[in-house]
């Protein structure tokens, strides 16, 4: 009886780990989508009414999503501009946010801090458009990875669990 219970527990734990791996991929896709949406809103705001950076951050910081936290945190730290440039504030908050991003994705989001507020609205909109396109490409790659790797993470962890059970029995 105890052996059977232990076996079930091992399989359950390994499946849970598999689901966690799968959800990381899904979360990454969601965060990328949110960032793409945020950038398109920035583009619309900048080309429509040349909205100030602080107001943009405040606008995008509304809500409970992970990316909203990043924008809100940057807005809260705008007072520190007298000590350090905006790109450093952006980088620090991006690191603190622990968004599930891979190397190239993170680099692209980092560059947002070098664009915001540094140029006239026309050039900023164009540069933001470039960043959005890059993120859109990265999102399609991430979606493919999510479908492929997510399922395999679940399968592999499930198999490992079963193997462990067999070995231990």
């Amino acid at each position: 009886m105890m052996k059977a219970l232990g076996g079930v527990m091992i399989v359950a734990v390994s499946l849970w780990l598999g689901f966690k791996g799968m959800s990381w991929y899904r979360r990454r896709c969601r965060v990328l989508s949110e960032l793409i949406y945020a950038i398109s809103r920035m583009e619309a705001e900048l080309s429509g009414r040349e909205t100030e950076t602080a107001e943009l951050l405040k606008l995008l910081g509304r809500g409970e999503s992970e990316t909203a936290w990043l924008f809100r945190a940057c807005y809260d730290d705008m007072e520190e501009l007298e000590e350090r440039p905006f790109r450093e504030i952006w980088l620090e908050k991006l690191n603190e946010s622990r968004l599930p991003l891979k190397g190239e994705e993170r680099e692209t989001v980092e560059r947002l801090g070098h664009v915001l507020g540094r140029y006239d609205s026309q050039l900023q909109t164009r540069l933001l458009g470039g960043l959005r396109c890059e993120l859109e490409e990265l999102l399609s790659v991430a979606r493919e990875e999510s479908a492929r790797e997510g399922k395999s993470a679940l399968t592999v962890s499930g198999c490992i669990g079963l193997l462990l059970v067999l070995l231990l029995m």
Binding site: L46, E50, T51, E52, T53, A54, M78, L81, E82, E83, P85, F86, L116, G117, R118, Y119, D120, S121, Q122, L123, Q124
Partner: protein
């Protein structure tokens, strides 16, 4: 507000190390500053009313001014928002809270013949605004006839206080219950920031900035029904045309122009239609005597 307090307000846009260095100077010293200049690779300077520049603390403790320092100052002054400031950048300065101004110099990035940004910054000039209230007190009564304000042209060479007098007259007109429409093309009269004038122009003023004078005057006439139309420095035929149109609509006009005398003005083709159509009824000229400004008011016939 005294000059030292204005200096303390103005330097809030400077990065902390520079601000500390300036704050460490005596209040008496600060009261003499009209400008604070930052030059990349050369240092920090202050200029007094005579234009004489003094390097701030050139000892080992002095702050090193680099291009990055200038970038940081610009970022701080714009709150990391260069968007929407194209017009101001093109004119070479940014308006700051309190009516102070930040002049910019460097390698300009030009698009379609207009400066849109700066690739490199070489120097910044923080010009401290310290409004002189009361300049118009002795002038305004002489601009009123039968209880009505008469259209007036303020004439003086650059730096003699035309804009200061214009601003004070607008403020005083507001106090008399007269509604003024002001076109502040370069943001020097009211220094709008976030829709709020940074310099005291009184409560009864409707301000248009960021557009040409001609366009602004037409919009004000259409939308705000002003009793007086005010404009700083007539520089283009369109400005003169819009002022003439305003005067023909029964609105009084108040404007400034560069020039030493009426004769000089008559010789310039730009002002000829305004003078021929008798748009102005009063002429105010400004001159300096013993370091003090004096105002002469003449009837224009």
């Amino acid at each position: 507000m005294d000059r030292a307090s204005a200096v303390r307000e103005a330097i809030s846009v400077l990065p902390k190390p520079i601000r500390f260095q300036l704050m460490s100077q005596s209040r008496e010293e600060q009261g003499r500053w009209e400008e604070i200049r930052l030059r990349a690779g050369r240092g920090l300077f202050t200029a007094d009313s005579s234009g004489r520049e003094t390097r701030v603390s050139s000892g080992p403790q002095s702050v090193i001014v680099e291009e990055e320092t200038l970038r940081q100052t610009l970022e701080l002054a714009t709150r990391a928002s260069l968007q929407g400031l194209n017009e101001k950048l093109a004119s070479g300065f940014l308006p700051l809270p309190g009516g102070h101004r930040l002049g910019i110099c460097g390698t300009a990035a030009v698009r379609e013949g207009r400066t849109i940004s700066f690739r490199n910054l070489s120097s910044l000039n923080l010009r401290i605004a310290c409004p002189v209230e009361g300049a118009g007190l002795e002038v305004l009564p002489r601009l009123v006839e039968a209880g009505k304000f008469q259209s007036t042209l303020i004439l003086a060479p650059p730096g003699e206080g035309k804009t200061t007098l214009l601003r004070d007259l607008i403020r005083l007109l507001g106090r008399e219950g007269i509604r003024t429409g002001l076109v502040d093309e370069r943001g020097e009269v009211a220094a709008l920031r976030g829709g709020v004038p940074q310099l005291d122009v009184g409560p009864l003023v409707d301000i248009m900035d960021g557009c040409s004078k001609g366009e602004g005057l037409t919009l004000l006439l259409r939308a705000m029904a002003p009793q007086v139309l005010a404009v700083d420095e007539i520089t283009a035929p369109e400005d003169a045309l819009a002022l003439t149109q305003g005067a023909n609509c029964g609105v009084h006009v108040l404007a400034t122009a560069h020039g030493g005398s009426m004769e000089e003005l008559r010789r310039r083709s730009l002002y000829r239609p305004l003078l021929e159509q008798k748009v102005f009824r009063r002429l105010v000229t400004i001159s300096r005597r013993d370091g003090r400004r004096t105002y002469q008011v003449e009837r224009m016939t």
